[in-house]
């Protein structure tokens, strides 16, 4: 039985999460009607334990478990990322004034379930497990998006998400099947290794004869990742779902789910094209995939920013902003270099702080004013100065201005983009930064430049404190990004 028990240690976090998910469900049943908050605290504690386990793992040599699971620092990074965002999302749920707290057990259960999906997604080189993890994440997300099942917007969001997600999953599966047919394996490392001399033909062999079928498979698979990351043209669901879903879920989708997409993409591309013994023809092909990604990046950020400009709903605006940020992240991916991936990962980390903060602000403000329209923000800065200042910091960071972590992230992306010779792409990104200023600062303008309407804002000191902490971290890591960068570098072993 050791063959089963021993590798389970490697899966401890996943197991713990599963237990926590079920625990939340059961706990809610037990506590029903009494204190729904307790489930939240339970979730937080579980997440903390998982986080501690994961922390202890950093720096370990990569190990494999059960043939498919790979426990490495790259995965650990994104697991930590997921846990950390989930913790914040949990606090959001706890502080969400729009949440009726009925069925809160299911809420946490689905969130934790999605996290399990992410955990598997980011710690495997096997396409099956990747697919399963992705689907688990998706299924949980669909339900979460529609969690306020009595609200039409929420229901509509869930419907759109599930339709789009189902199609994307199908398309991706079809792509995976083609890849399988072309290389005879489902393991990415195997796929990259296969030389083409022996049977099955292998990636290198396929590319030597014709790149067309590979291209087809590649596009179909990438479409799946692109959908998770909301990259144009697979982004259409994003604004509608973000707007319709409960705000903590939106946060989860915008941060953790997107990060999972990035992680899977990085894993996929890294294993296929940047592995240690990749054939030169494959590496060359990787560069042209990079070109495709660069085009997608440019289109994505441009479209995201331009669309964001006219939004009246803050959530929708942030949805487009998150599309634009997917474009920025793709710069790092498109370089197809280790350093580029590092930059993308760093940007993810930056994105964590600023987007959690921004969505937290949305939640706060939605909860106090009952609307997420930008117009309603008028003069809010004078009523709730602390979180408004924090929000401005997040906006500054989203725009990519010093001294925030968003700037440093963008700096790294630009640098790697330039280093890889993608001048036009960096140029487009730079222009986009300027454009993005326009709508980000429309929010700042509403907050501080408009006269406040009368009335006061109820206080949520703890929640505001959380936002303040995020704000401080945004600046702190903006000025001293070394810690995170070191961390990212250690986690990315390409």
């Amino acid at each position: 039985m050791d063959a089963y028990i021993e590798p389970l240690k490697a899966l401890a976090p996943e197991l713990l999460l599963t237990a926590a998910a079920l625990g939340a469900l059961v706990l809610d049943l037990l506590m029903r009607g009494r204190d729904s908050r307790f489930v939240g605290y339970f979730t937080l504690v579980s997440l903390a334990i998982v986080a501690i386990i994961l922390m202890n793992r950093i720096g370990d040599e990569p190990t494999a478990a059960f043939g498919m699971v790979v426990v490495d620092n790259f995965g650990t990074f994104f697991k930590l990322f997921t846990v950390a965002s989930l913790a914040v999302v949990t606090i959001f749920v706890l502080s969400d004034r729009n949440e009726s707290h009925h069925h809160i057990g299911e809420y946490y259960f689905l969130l934790l379930g999605a996290a399990i999906g992410i955990f598997f997604m980011v710690s495997t080189n096997h396409l099956l497990l990747l697919m399963l993890g992705l689907e688990l994440l998706s299924l949980a997300s669909y339900a979460l998006a529609g969690f306020h099942k009595g609200e039409r917007k929420s229901a509509e969001a869930a419907m759109k998400y599930v339709v789009f997600g189902g199609l994307s999953a199908g398309v991706m599966l079809y792509g995976i099947s083609l890849l399988y047919g072309l290389t005879g394996t489902l393991d990415l490392v195997e796929m990259a290794k296969s030389t083409g001399e022996a049977m099955p033909a292998g990636l290198a062999g396929q590319l030597t004869t014709s790149a067309v079928p590979v291209a087809l498979a590649m596009v179909l698979v990438l479409a799946g990742f692109a959908y998770k990351m909301s990259v144009v043209p697979f982004h259409f669901w994003t604004p509608d779902v973000y707007e319709g879903a409960p705000t903590p879920v939106t946060t989860f989708l915008a941060v953790a789910s997107k990060a999972a997409g990035v992680a899977a993409l990085l894993r996929f591309l890294g294993a296929l094209f940047l592995g240690p013994d990749v054939q030169s023809v494959v590496a060359e092909y990787g560069a042209s995939v990079g070109q495709l990604l660069a085009i997608l990046a440019a289109v994505t950020m441009t479209l995201g920013n331009l669309s964001a400009m006219r939004q009246t709903s803050l959530k929708r605006l942030l949805a487009y902003s998150s599309i634009a940020h997917a474009g920025y992240i793709l710069i790092g991916v498109a370089t197809m270099t280790g350093a580029g991936f590092e930059a993308a990962m760093f940007y993810m980390a930056a994105y964590y702080f600023m987007n959690l903060g921004a969505f937290g602000f949305v939640l706060y403000f939605e909860g106090t004013l009952g609307s997420d329209s930008i117009e309603a923000l008028k003069g809010y800065g004078f009523k709730a100065p602390l979180i408004s200042i924090a929000m401005v910091t997040f906006l500054v960071s989203l725009t990519g201005l010093p001294p925030t972590i968003g700037f440093y992230g963008k700096y790294l992306l630009f640098k790697e983009g330039l280093d890889a010779g993608m001048y036009w792409l960096v140029g487009v990104a730079a222009l986009n930064s300027v454009v993005s200023l326009f709508y980000y600062f429309r929010i700042a303008k509403m907050l501080f430049l408009k006269e406040p309407a009368s009335g006061s804002v109820p206080r949520q000191p703890l929640f505001a404190g959380l936002l303040a902490v995020l704000c401080v971290l945004t600046i702190y890591f903006g000025l001293l990004p070394d810690a995170i960068q070191e961390f990212v570098r250690n986690c990315l072993l390409i």
């Binding site: 063959a3 089963y4 590798p7 899966l11 599963t18 998910a21 469900l25 478990a65 059960f66 043939g67 498919m68 699971v69 009726s100 009925h102 069925h103 299911e106 259960f109 689905l110 379930g113 399990i116 999906g117 598997f120 096997h126 099956l128 497990l129 399963l132 993890g133 689907e135 688990l136 299924l139 949980a140 669909y142 339900a143 529609g146 969690f147 306020h148 099942k149 009595g150 609200e151 039409r152 869930a158 399988y180 047919g181 072309l182 290389t183 005879g184 049977m199 099955p200 033909a201 292998g202 062999g205 396929q206 004869t209 014709s210 067309v212 079928p213 087809l216 004013l369 009952g370 609307s371």
Partner: protein
């Protein structure tokens, strides 16, 4: 409007016959079986797309699933084929039909131009890609003579599911996935008044009213 029902089914029959003929002519009896399954698969889908009635579409989709199952069996994957029939035909389709029952029949939602346009466009795209691919593609396949015998693999599959170095994790993950799906589906589908906004707050399709109500509350 011209009734295209007859020409469509006529064409479909021709397609069926052609597939069978092609099967027989290229590989004899197994070919016939293949031709039948393939024709069932594609024909089912075509009818599904074509038919106005959701119920009919759903049932024709069953043809597709059965055809696919037949293909699986032809490929020696009888377990998969069985699973296909059980799960799809028994489970998924039942679910879908459950949904179909709930939705009122709407005969006007199909537009011929859209169907034809979609078919033509997708057909063109597939044709183009096929033309690109067919000439050059080299699937990872063994030479004909080296192909292993088709064996029943239920045991192998069972071992594959639980062997520590094979699919055990995926298997467990699938279990989690199903649990999550179950909980999700149940949660969403379960109706309880407490979860819904009071009816008066949502005059049907009147968002403005709803927003006004929200403003009032605020």
């Amino acid at each position: 409007m011209v009734d295209l029902q007859k020409p469509f089914y006529g064409g479909l029959t021709l397609f069926f016959v052609a597939m069978l003929g092609w099967g027989i002519s290229s590989a004899g009896a197994p070919g016939l079986a293949f031709g039948f399954s393939a024709a069932l698969t594609l024909g089912g889908s075509l009818v599904c797309i074509w038919e106005r009635s959701v119920v009919r579409s759903a049932f024709s989709l069953m043809g597709t699933f059965v055809g696919v199952a037949g293909l699986f069996i032809l490929l020696g994957a009888d377990f998969v084929g069985m699973a296909q029939i059980l799960i799809y035909v028994g489970g998924i389709l039942a679910l879908l039909l459950f949904g179909v029952m709930l939705s009122p029949p709407d005969m006007e939602e199909r537009k011929l131009s859209r169907v034809a346009g979609g078919l033509v466009l997708m057909g063109a795209a597939v044709a183009w890609v096929s033309a690109k691919v067919a000439a050059t593609v080299e699937w990872a396949q063994l030479p004909k003579d080296e192909l292993p015998e088709m064996t029943t693999s239920v045991h192998d599959i069972g071992v594959g599911f639980i062997a520590p170095d094979k699919y055990v994790v995926a298997f467990e993950l699938a279990a989690v996935l199903l649990t999550v799906a179950l909980v999700a589906a149940v949660y969403i589908a379960r109706r309880k008044m407490a979860d819904f906004e009071p009816a008066k707050d949502i005059p049907s399709k009147d968002i403005a009213g709803k927003e006004a109500a929200m403003k009032e509350i605020a």
